[in-house]
């Protein structure tokens, strides 16, 4: 199945990519998708994760055709 993975703000700058298409045989959680796309790097904390524009946690199971998005936290004021 195909999953679209998007990175925003600082994550996009640090990883040097804004979008990746991922092909996978088995269902994966959001955390597993991060590890696959980011060479087994640990999931940074805190981080915001969304699937199809809905906020989820790292154990959410991603389905065929889903869009997974990662955002860094922002606290500046």
């Amino acid at each position: 199945m195909t999953i679209t993975v998007k990175f925003f703000a600082r994550l996009r700058e640090e990883l040097g990519k804004s979008e990746v298409k991922l092909e996978t045989e088995k269902p994966l959680t959001v955390a597993q998708i991060w590890a696959l796309v980011c060479d087994d790097a640990p999931l940074p904390t805190p981080i915001l994760m969304a699937v199809n524009l809905e906020y989820v946690d790292q154990n959410y199971l991603v389905q065929e055709g889903d869009e997974v998005a990662f955002f860094p936290p922002v606290t500046g004021g």
Binding site: A9, P46, A69, V74, T75, G76, G77
Partner: protein
């Protein structure tokens, strides 16, 4: 309202959702703004100009030269002055009708718990997680609406939390308070108008909450990327096991 006030607010009163009734509602409202920095500046200026009757300004910092690139409620002549006093003089010049209370201190949890129930809406324009979690806890406990904004580099976020509505998430549903460390503007940088955009959206949401309008950002997280000029709106569900809001609000009736 006298004739001068009717004229001052005439362009806003023209809006059917505001009208004289709504304008009077704003005049009788009290809003706490925590942080008179990049976000608090436009929030305070727009709420003053729009005729929100009473603003409580909380900040413990003094105006520095490096603030002036984006903190537009302050100006060059105010360097070294407390931010609350500096903001007050700008806001009074903008609209002498507005009552302003100054809290020249860093509010801790106890002070927030006491203060928050006395206002109609709280605006979070602070710059660190610890203050943000403390503000959120006080708002949840007091059942007071919170309009939260944050900005860094080219990016910003806005969310509205309505703790009196049992379906509303809170700020703690969004971020975990363990390992919560974040970058500061002084380290990561900030493009000046980014805080203007986010602060202006916060001011819009404050006015809508005060007017009792239903279509707010409650249950959503609005993300702004100035770099690619894109907006995204995420649905933000309530965390059923949130340590701050899950037990308190379950005992309340929805709005």
């Amino acid at each position: 309202m006298d004739e001068t006030q009717l004229l001052r607010y005439s362009r806003q009163i023209l809006l059917p959702d505001v009208d004289v009734k709504g304008q009077l509602k704003l005049a009788h409202s009290k809003v706490l703004i925590v942080g008179l920095g990049g976000l608090g500046s436009p929030v305070a200026m727009y709420l003053s100009a729009a005729g929100v009757g009473h603003l409580v300004l909380a900040d413990c910092d003094r105006v520095e030269l490096s603030n002036l690139q984006r903190q537009i409620v302050h100006d060059t002549g105010k360097i070294g002055q407390s931010k609350t006093l500096s903001a007050q003089s700008t806001l009074k010049a903008l609209n002498p009708d507005v009552q302003i209370t100054l809290l020249n201190e860093c509010l801790d949890q106890g002070a927030l718990d006491k203060l928050v129930p006395s206002v109609d809406v709280v605006v979070d324009g602070s710059d660190n997680f610890a203050t943000r979690f403390a503000i959120n806890a006080a708002c949840v406990r007091g059942g007071i609406p919170l309009v939260s904004g944050a900005a860094l580099r080219w990016h910003g976020q806005v969310a509205v939390f309505l703790p009196a509505d049992s379906r509303s998430p809170c700020y703690r549903c969004l971020y975990d308070d363990k390992d919560a460390e974040a970058e500061m503007c002084s380290e990561a940088g900030i493009l000046a108008p980014t805080v203007g955009v986010i602060g202006s959206v916060q001011a819009v949401e404050v006015i809508k909450v005060l007017l009792g309008m239903s279509d707010t950002l409650c249950g959503k997280l609005l993300l702004f990327d100035a770099y690619s000029l894109q907006w995204r709106t995420l649905t933000l569900p309530k965390d059923p096991v949130c340590p701050v809001c899950s037990q308190i609000s379950s005992t309340r009736e929805p709005l």
